[in-house]
């Protein structure tokens, strides 16, 4: 079908050359325009003289000058050579052979005739609802574009943004949710957390204000208390951080998910040997933090090179590189994973899904 369209276009282009050749119209007299022009000029000189804008004497001279040119133009009137059949055939051959050949040659190297148009709307309609995360996000975004006042939509999409490393978008979405749905401690805390992610782990003043707003509504909000403690630790207020975190631990249930992490952080702050990498890293200043994360990622990479059957490990590595904004590394990791997991179809599918989600590789 598309080749039919291409053929029609090519045909039209070729015809634009053949048609004038076929008509073989008579050549216009090349001197006619000159003659007309100089006649017009003489008329103009006469007008100007009549208006008195040209002195009589100058008018005469100018008139004579133009008249001379007019005579010359009349004399130059000579017939153009008649169109030659041979030239026309050569030109037609050029149009019929070279133009399509050149177009096909270039297009076959650059074009993708097999790729259909992929308008976003059609893709969203075609993809089954649960196909993958990224399309779900796109679907919600499309919905939000039409219903920008739907606060629930923003609240639903924000966690997806966080998982995809689009922290800034998550901040935006939580802000809108907060504005549209009204404040709850959970919303304030989530906004604060998104801000921390957007700042690559630093608890900014803005984020701190969000956590404080959450605490004002619900003094027990564990997540807010955790981050305010982290802010204190990052600002070097060691005692304050220890105090806040100790109280948090005291209030927490024994099986609270943050218990382990907070304990480790506390131990670190008190100078005791740390039990976990994560805790160490969280309390480090920004630059060192990044450094530590990198070395951890490198270790993971080393391990996977030894033993490549760890699907979770690969997923973690690809995600890590993508968060660190190292597209090339992420791509290498993706290739490595595809090679290592060649026999693991499920694993491979998961890796591919992640790659699509993060836009790695392309």
């Amino acid at each position: 079908m598309i080749w039919l369209v291409f053929a029609l276009l090519t045909g039209a282009a070729v015809m634009s050359v053949l048609w004038p050749l076929a008509r073989r119209g008579e050549a216009a007299d090349p001197a006619a325009t000159d003659i007309a022009f100089f006649e017009e000029q003489i008329a103009e000189i006469d007008r100007e003289s009549a208006e008195g804008r040209l002195s009589r004497e100058d008018g005469e001279i100018a008139r004579a000058e133009a008249a001379r040119r007019l005579l010359r133009a009349r004399a130059a009137r000579a017939g153009e050579a008649k169109p030659s059949r041979r030239n026309a055939v050569a030109a037609a051959a050029f149009a019929i052979l070279v133009v399509p050949a050149l177009a096909l040659l270039v297009y076959s190297r650059l074009g993708h005739s097999n790729l259909p148009d992929l308008p976003l709307q059609a893709r969203l309609e075609a993809a089954p609802a649960h196909s993958d995360l990224a399309s779900a996000v796109a679907r919600i975004e499309a919905h939000l574009a039409e219903h920008p006042e739907d606060g629930r939509g923003y609240e639903v999409v924000a966690p997806f943004y966080l998982r995809n490393g689009r922290a800034a978008d998550a901040v935006d979405a939580y802000q809108k949710a907060l504005r549209l749905l009204g404040p709850t401690p959970q919303r304030h805390a989530s906004l604060g957390e998104a801000r921390v992610m957007a700042e690559k782990g630093r608890v900014s003043e803005e984020a701190q204000r969000d956590f404080e707003a959450a605490l004002a509504l619900d003094p027990k909000s564990a997540i807010s208390r955790y981050y305010i403690g982290l802010a204190a630790a990052q600002n070097g207020e060691r005692d304050k951080a220890i105090d806040l975190w100790s109280k948090l631990l005291g209030d927490s249930a024994p099986d609270a998910p943050w218990r382990e992490r907070v304990t480790a952080l506390l131990a670190q702050l008190r100078g005791a040997p740390a039990s976990e990498d994560g805790a160490k890293i969280a309390a480090m200043p920004q630059g060192a933090q990044l450094q530590a994360i990198r070395s951890m990622v490198e270790r993971l990479r080393g391990r996977l090179e030894q033993n490549g059957e760890d699907v979770e490990g690969w997923l973690k590595l690809i995600r890590a590189y993508s968060v660190l904004d190292e597209a090339a590394q992420a791509k290498t990791a993706l290739d490595g994973a595809r090679k290592a997991l060649a026999n693991d179809r499920d694993g491979l599918a998961r890796v591919d899904a992640l790659a699509r989600e993060l836009g790695v590789g392309g």
């Binding site: 216009a28 006649e39 040209l54 002195s55 070279v98 074009g111 790729l115 308008p119 976003l120 796109a138």
Partner: protein, 658 residues
Amino acid sequence: MIVETGHFALVLALALAIAQAILPFAGARLRDASLMSVARPTALAQFGLVALAYGALTYAHVVSDFSLVNVIENSHSLKPMVYKVSGVWGNHEGSMLLWVLVLSFFGALTAVFSGAMPDRLRADTLAVQGLIGAAFVAFILFTSNPFARVADPPWQGRDLNPILQDPGLAIHPPLLYLGYVGFSIVFSFAAAALIGGRIDAAWARFVRPWTLAAWIFLTLGIAMGSYWAYYTLGWGGFWFWDPVENASLMPWLAGTALLHSAAVMEKREALKVWTIFLSILAFSLSLLGTFLVRSGVLTSVHAFASDPARGVFILAILTVFIGGALALFALRASALPTGGLFAPISREGALVVNNLLLTVCCATVVIGTLYPLALEALTGEKISVGAPFFDTVLIPIALPLIFSMPIGQLLAWKRGDLLGALQRLRAAFAAGVVAIAIFAALHGAPFLSVICAGLAIYLVVGAFSDIAMRAAPRGAPLRSIVSRARGLPLSAWGASIAHAGVGLTLLGLAATGWGVEQIVAMKPGVAYDVGPYRIAIEDVASRAGPNYAETYAVMAVREGDATLARMEPAKRFYQARRMARTEAGIVTLGLGQVYAALGEQHEDGTIDARLYYKPLVLLIWLGAVVMALGGACSLADRRLRIGVAARARVTTHAQAAE
């Protein structure tokens, strides 16, 4: 399918452009009328194909087809529709496609409106235009293909740059392109004349409408770009001597010179070589501008994605076309018969002065733009050449140029009467002197502003002296004046209007000297003096926009006790891109404006702000619009369109011969 059809159309346009370059050219050499006649339909088909490609790309942007790299990188499904469409030319690849679209558009227009032209001139002109088209389509296809695709499209695009989402920015590139790419057809005419070896008054008349059209668009494009910078950048400046701005100013100066020298060539067959040279120069400077912008060789706030490979390709195109044209020029120019001579005091003489001064201005801008590059290449030193340089050089050149404009209009061709012209300008001189006295009394310093304002009034009055003299000779009855004025050629009206436009712009520029600029820490409720007005903050608040949060101040502009208007300057923060942007508050009062931009907010409630009073500032852009209007008037003069006149003549001629 639409996308790939567009892609194929662009490839086909390349092949056809090559045919358009070769066949008519060969026809002109072989004097074969049917080969030459290939030029017109191919030029039309060429435009059709490029328009198809451009339409396909626009479609891809509109429906957010993220299988195109260009759409992924420069669009976003949530962008408002207008910006999806304008986003097509808001990026490198798309803007180059627009460039080629305009190029082929002018080719097609020439094909349609060249009925009266000699066959060979038309064939050669369209062949050269085809060659330029082929070079640029190849550039697009091989170094910056907007139709490049990905197999696995993402679900969202990357770009939602808020600074680019502005109506001013949306319109000004197409206008600017219509202007400076429009000079391509003038260039092609010049190259064709050199190839054919026939350069005469008729040629000048054929070229005239094209030069005018390009000049009108360029004038409007520059003015609009300048106004956009004025209200978005938040610094109150309207011209920054940025290389990208210079890139549009250089061809404008050359084009203005060309308009005037072509008039001499048309009337007196003089200045032929010079006119041809200017035709080549105007488009060469457009190409140079494209090169500077696209290759990113200069630091510039407008810098697009820069890429050395593209730079080299454009440099090659530049060398071939400019070098080729100049070589042809060197080869042929000496063989041209020299035209008629004229007295120094004459219309021709005045136009020569105009040309000298304009080209010197143009050369200055070129030097100011390229000198830093050359110096860096030679010595490694980095310098910047800014407003002080251009002011120092251009003001002393521009003032005599402006002074001589009305005088030149009043001089007769061949031999003018300077004393008579000066006498007839008595009213203009008087108006200028009175204006100087009034402005000096009203505003006083700076001296330069007063002088320029006087000069501007003199120019506006003087521009119409010629019209007034012709419409109302001494003792003419009132009724005849109107009919005489109507009977005057539109081109005369055009020249007067355009010159008056220059005067208006000059007045606006002069008035910048009387502007007031203040940086104050404003306390809400307290009024601050800014020029004749007082500005007070009534309220400071925050609100959320569709994709930003902003802090805005409600400012009242007062005169005495009366509040004249309110404005809301704001500081916006775009969360998704973590970008801040200042929205200026602007209130137009008469021809002047009050302009406010917010700075930082302090804890004690005061807020830093830049407050400006800019008297007559609108004249800067209105003047440009008036200039363009003058151009349009002149373009509308049917008598100067050779097609119409010639066809009528040919018939009468044929009858006479019988």
